[in-house]
């Protein structure tokens, strides 16, 4: 009699474990690291290390294997009370499924652009979309002003409206070669190639050392031992 119950328990346990795995994958588990490695500049071990970081960030508020806006702000600013125009833009660009949360795949694909080895065209595209606040395909003067004002407010710098206008004037003078009051993709590309420092925040050196700073344990590894 007891043997029967044990056997039944055993079957149930295995079933539950299977079921858990399914849920785990759907709600934002590691997924397929080899696929991600193929489609990003990361290696399989870098993907696994990145996943360690992802787990830390995504469990900060709700431990559901997903990063919501609050957890993202927390990771970026050490406080979740900080509303930031820029954090919003970055989050939106990461959130390619547009469902308000970041799964690991979205996280890894977006961060791939920031790797030192990522193609510069990807960085140029990403940064253009970042600054194109209304996503109309142009960076308008008004959008630049909004961003400058937000940056100054964040850092506590106080500049008069006149001064801000003149900074933007000078920038547009150089960037807006077609003189239509806005910067399109091409003009952005030319500007950035002339001033590579404009892309400096599009590269995270940390990504190169990620396997040493986030070692993932051997038994997590899905790389097969042959």
């Amino acid at each position: 009699m007891t043997q029967c119950v044990d056997g039944f328990k055993h079957v149930c346990n295995s079933l539950f474990r299977c079921f858990d795995l399914e849920i785990y994958k759907q709600s934002g588990g590691l997924g397929d690291p080899e696929l991600l490695a193929r489609e990003t500049v990361f290696s399989v071990s870098e993907i696994e290390a990145l996943y360690e970081l992802f787990k830390k960030i995504s469990s900060a508020v709700i431990d559901d294997g997903l990063i919501n806006k609050e957890e993202f702000q927390l990771a970026l600013f050490k406080t979740n009370k900080k509303e930031s125009l820029f954090a919003d833009r970055v989050f939106d660009l990461f959130d390619t499924k547009h469902n308000g949360i970041l799964g690991f795949e979205e996280f890894a694909r977006a961060l791939s652009v920031f790797h030192p080895n990522a193609p510069i065209d990807d960085k140029i595209d990403f940064s253009f979309q970042l600054y194109d606040l209304k996503q109309q395909g142009f960076i308008e003067r008004q959008e630049v002003k909004q961003m400058v004002v937000a940056t100054l407010a964040e850092s506590g710098m106080n500049l008069s409206d006149e001064v801000i206008e003149s900074i933007i004037d000078k920038t547009f003078e150089e960037a807006d070669t077609k003189h239509d009051g806005r910067i399109d993709k091409e003009e952005w590309r030319i500007l950035v190639l002339r001033h590579p420092s404009l892309l400096k925040n599009m590269t995270l050196q940390y990504l190169k050392d990620i396997t040493t700073t986030f070692p993932s344990f051997v038994f997590h590894s899905q790389v097969e031992d042959t």
């Binding site: 970081l53 820029f86 850092s155 900074i167 400096k200």
Partner: protein
Amino acid sequence: MSKSTLTDSLVAAAGIIAQEVAGDVRMTDTRADEAERGITIKSTGISLYYEMTNASLKSFTGARDGNETPVTMNAFELISTSKGLNLGSLFEKQMGLVKRKTQFTSKCPANEIVTKIEAAAGPMGFDVKKNNYKMKLLGEKSGRKGQLPVTTEVFQVTPSLYMVEMKKSRGDALEFDKFYKNLTTGLKDIV
């Protein structure tokens, strides 16, 4: 056209000799005996002055002699300093790391900022090398990871507001943090 005549024309275009005599003069070497023998130069150094039009001057990004002001930040450079756009903190926070780069603003004139940094870093055991408004500070003491090199650059946001950026290229992050904290106490009056 022979090469001597070409040289003459170039020099004429630079306004050093009259156009009419180009071709007759035949630039010779500076040595008098060579000039006598009519030997024209194969090569020698000569300065030709060309006046840049205003348009080309605007787009000139190389070093300018006599332009002793720091690089002016354009709007996007300013925007890129905001914390929300520097995803490095995603890593720093999680890893408990100390920042590799930091910045502060000052209303002091740029050259004063540079002298003050020099004055503060010197006694801390740093060797300072200046190049316009970029400085390289090299820690003389060998720390855990060897000497600590720090690069500093002063940017102009407006003629009365400057931003100083400091970052370490190698070395221990904790030492950098210590260095920065010590430096800012020394710079309290300008930050």
